[in-house]
Symmetry: D2
Subunit: 333 residues, 4 copies
């Protein structure tokens, strides 16, 4: 089920070491200006090559294949792809028989009867998030003037993130992190009870990003230790503004007009430089593996722009459910 | 969007103080024996009336309206309802103009232009979870022999739950809690990349339950502080068993055959006995409210059976996507 | 898959000889006035008891179970049911082993492994269309000021319908008919390419009605015999009015602002008074059956109101996709 | 809504004169061999260039972008595209202001606020059916050993199709036709009541093909003139074989194991060589248009392979709903 959304629908395809990764956005309103340079700018935030990320130089150049005419969206499905290039498949040659711990190698092999493309994780690769960032570009325009912003607030349990990276690098290790996302400017009323609550839609999208282990809204897990009257947010005016924001901007699954706040936990990347135990499926014997491919010390560094994208996608869909498939057209004409 | 699921579809309807709350289960395999006493047993675990829960005596008796013939499911939609009875609407008479902090009163009012049934939260009431527990009864049969079990592991930040309740009751307060859920016996391979990952589907369902503030899988938020080689679960045999289970039984969004483990944070119930600040929408002036309705000191006490139900529902759908709409029939014939 | 629609969602449940037949309408805008007498009026048009229809006196009284408060829709799911009463089950007692030709008896038995409720066709009964008519009541309000009107234009190949009935009754036979539907007042632009074209959505709904064998839009099958320049409808002004309407008001799957016109073929009811050949599944021997249950000589007499309802439902969904889930609220406040 | 299907999902994208037309197939079982030459063979049947079709030489070469590894499907989304080449856009330069009768020019312009790609019909072009034929290749493998076969049985009301073409060509006209489709070998039990009846799913797909005006199953419209006992198909053995097949192999929306038979009406192509009346949207004055682009005299000639494809797609989805997303894998391993 590589498609998300009811009205604003995002479908991703491709493999880490195949021809392309790509995305189709269906249900995007007509008349939105499309600037490939702006898309590339957002993709740049997702790129590797910086301290703490893999030195793999991914080809991220987006190519528009459909849905854009004379620089504007047409209302037809928008497909963009990027060609894969710097793919050292040799690094991964043993994968089909020796599943890497923490990866989808084993589960994908069983699920697809040995036919999945195992190279670099294939379709399960974090590389597929390229399409999410591209779709996020369009989604942000839809939710405008609302704006979404995410940042890494700790890594390896440390708020000094540079330091955390250095420690991990010295051990050829990887570390996880916590990313916080805030959305300002959404109207009251988005979210559909029961099963498309704002939290349901957001969390569903968030757990589509590889390596996410948890999500919490507003005060989150800490709410479990609070008294009710401390946790409740008093409403201070008829627009719904609240004095506090323990609920993270959502009541009854519906946006309440205050800032949306949530945090996610990103696990340490599974590919580390350390030797690990696993099994050889050819003989059912234990063996060890040292992942030779390049890896990200702190994969969470690349997550904020992806998280912003999926949050924008989630609310773009909820907004279009509320306002209709063509609601934004006027703004752009 | 009061329906969940792709193949095994659950729809809920009703209001806290309306005629009924109910549920329709569509896509349930034919030939499953239905025992109303067993359903009632599960509903009993959700009931109030015990220490820490509201003294409201809810009428929970399930009435089968369709889809069952001669004691077996027929393949047609199964609808069950329960009549509402002990509903002291007078307790709630001010609600339409004075939104209760933490409730959906304000958001529902705005979203539905003042037409929502506000009595006791109306359609946003936790009472709607009655239908989830009923649907869970059928879902459990579908995932059998897998079994799901949830328990409250802390309340108000305290692992001594009796004590936590006593402290809160003394203050006329409410407290939250952490509920942990474990599922044993699921096959390898459930979950559909990308947007129906096992975590996506589970979290989407979980955040349909009112009052949930967070979810984490396996090691969860703690994973963000671990090194990759510590977090990775070594595979120890060709069935996919792992030495540890930091991933909570899911890799790449797909079940790996190990125990599924996740925890959720339940906020303290918004209705407390303490006076709280709010706004009077008639004059946009601040006022105070003391919720007169009966309330649950520790709403999380009622959550385990609901959490088990939604987990079973989520996996019933994933299993039926994998095995087909009629796959279980043989077992019961 | 007993649910239809993306935003305006209609789910039906129940059996011919079970407790109830019912319908849930989810995604209906809040603030619509609900008049049970008006619903009954539309149901009256579907009722039997007139010349050409079965003398079975169906209990059609609608009971509102949820989603309506103080006489208005609330935005929550609306559930209505009607209790079954005049159900002479004895008439059908041999059904499980001796499938009636033309009915779903055989297919349902195989599909559901013998567990389907066979009494009077069970869930496959035309009685389920009760819920469609009820949902149509709400859908008509949504598409208002557009209006939909259907009529029976021929029966048994005869435009004199009274005469056709008399001939059939004399032979204890059943006959089919052609029903034409026209919709005025829809805006330009409804229908979503490719797979939710106006014709796709309409036909999908229409073939949910039991006994429908064909559908044609505008000139329909006759178009296959026309020249292109004769078939094309010239546009005569900038509102899109056309001089002719061979296309039936739809171009490229999208409404063009002219009258929507389509016709459907209704087969003769399968239950006739004539002895027919079938098989006894207990011994795989041929046998004969004379359906003892009451039957409709001309089932198509009851179809117009159902056809209007499903057409309204189809366009209500397309309109809400276009305008958003709450677009109509203002009109009723 | 450019996606079809619940489990076997087909999404199309592209424009007539854009970069590509393409298709993504999601939910296709892993392990199916993919032979590009076989795909091209089916595409060849859809091609123009033969008597009665446009001389436009379309580039139909399929390029696999994802989802296939070592010659087999992987379980990940399969994307194929073909580059557009022989696109004489100049032929269409007046389109945005002077809508061609019978085309989607006017409706698309209104729906998308003037932003749709009008060149050659843009996304509404019959060229998009390229992707349906490609998806049909995969769908046929899924329903195997069932087989689907369609043929043109009349054109312009004439069963001598060569002659009909000659008459039309002499007048620079276009003509329509009737295409019949038969499917053998499907099991009993496909189709989901009520809204995914076999006829609902088939007709929904069929009306996604441009230029279709009607569909009828089995005896179709003629059924409306028959007596019930003549129309009923007697069951002759316990496998469900019937002596006649007036129902076209479907009872109660569910396949009954007999041959599926249906016919569709294809209208004459809207682009003819004859001058036609229309409107100039710049000044709201009537004008005439002679479509200069190349056109198909008998577009229905190209429909059989498309109809086979959509029929296979419809049943592939119903079969996978019944049997599960991975049910066919074993056959290919």
């Amino acid at each position: 089920m590589n498609s998300f959304g009811k009205i604003f629908r995002v479908s991703i395809f491709g493999e880490s070491h195949g021809q392309v990764v790509g995305v189709t956005i269906d249900g995007c309103p007509a008349g939105m200006p499309v600037d490939i340079a702006e898309i590339s700018e957002q993709l740049e935030r997702r790129r590797s090559g910086k301290k703490g990320t893999t030195p793999r130089k991914e080809s991220d150049v987006p190519e528009i294949m459909s849905g854009v005419f004379n620089g504007f969206t047409t209302g037809a499905p928008i497909t963009l792809v990027t060609r894969n290039s710097d793919t050292r498949s040799a690094d991964y040659e043993e994968s089909p028989f020796i599943p890497r711990p923490g990866h989808a190698d084993f589960t994908a092999r069983v699920k697809y009867g040995g036919f999945s493309d195992f190279r670099g994780g294939g379709h399960f690769s974090g590389r597929l998030t390229w399409g999410l960032v591209v779709a996020g570009y369009f989604a942000r325009k839809i939710i405008f003037p609302a704006s979404v912003s995410a940042k890494l607030i700790s890594a390896g349990g440390n708020s000094d993130i540079e330091k955390a990276i250095s420690i991990a690098e010295a051990r050829q290790e990887t570390i996880g992190g916590i990313v916080e996302c805030r959305i300002d400017g959404l109207p009251v009323g988005l979210g559909e009870p029961f099963f498309m609550s704002a939290e349901s839609v957001l969390s569903s999208m968030v757990f589509s990003i590889p390596a996410i282990r948890g999500i919490e809204f507003g005060t989150g897990f800490a709410a479990a230790s609070m008294f009710g009257s401390d946790h409740n947010d008093s409403i201070s005016d008829s627009s719904g503004s609240t004095d506090t924001n323990h609920s993270g901007g959502i009541n009854g699954g519906i946006t309440n007009g205050n800032q949306i706040v949530f945090r996610i936990a990103v696990k340490p990347a599974s590919s580390t430089g350390v030797e690990q135990n696993t099994i050889d499926l050819r003989n059912n014997k234990r063996t060890t593996i040292r992942v030779r491919g390049r890896h990200d010390t702190l994969i969470a560094l690349r997550v904020p722009v992806i998280l912003e994208a999926v949050a924008a996608i989630a609310f773009a869909d909820l907004l279009m459910i509320d306002r209709g498939i063509n609601f934004t057209s006027d703004r752009y004409i």
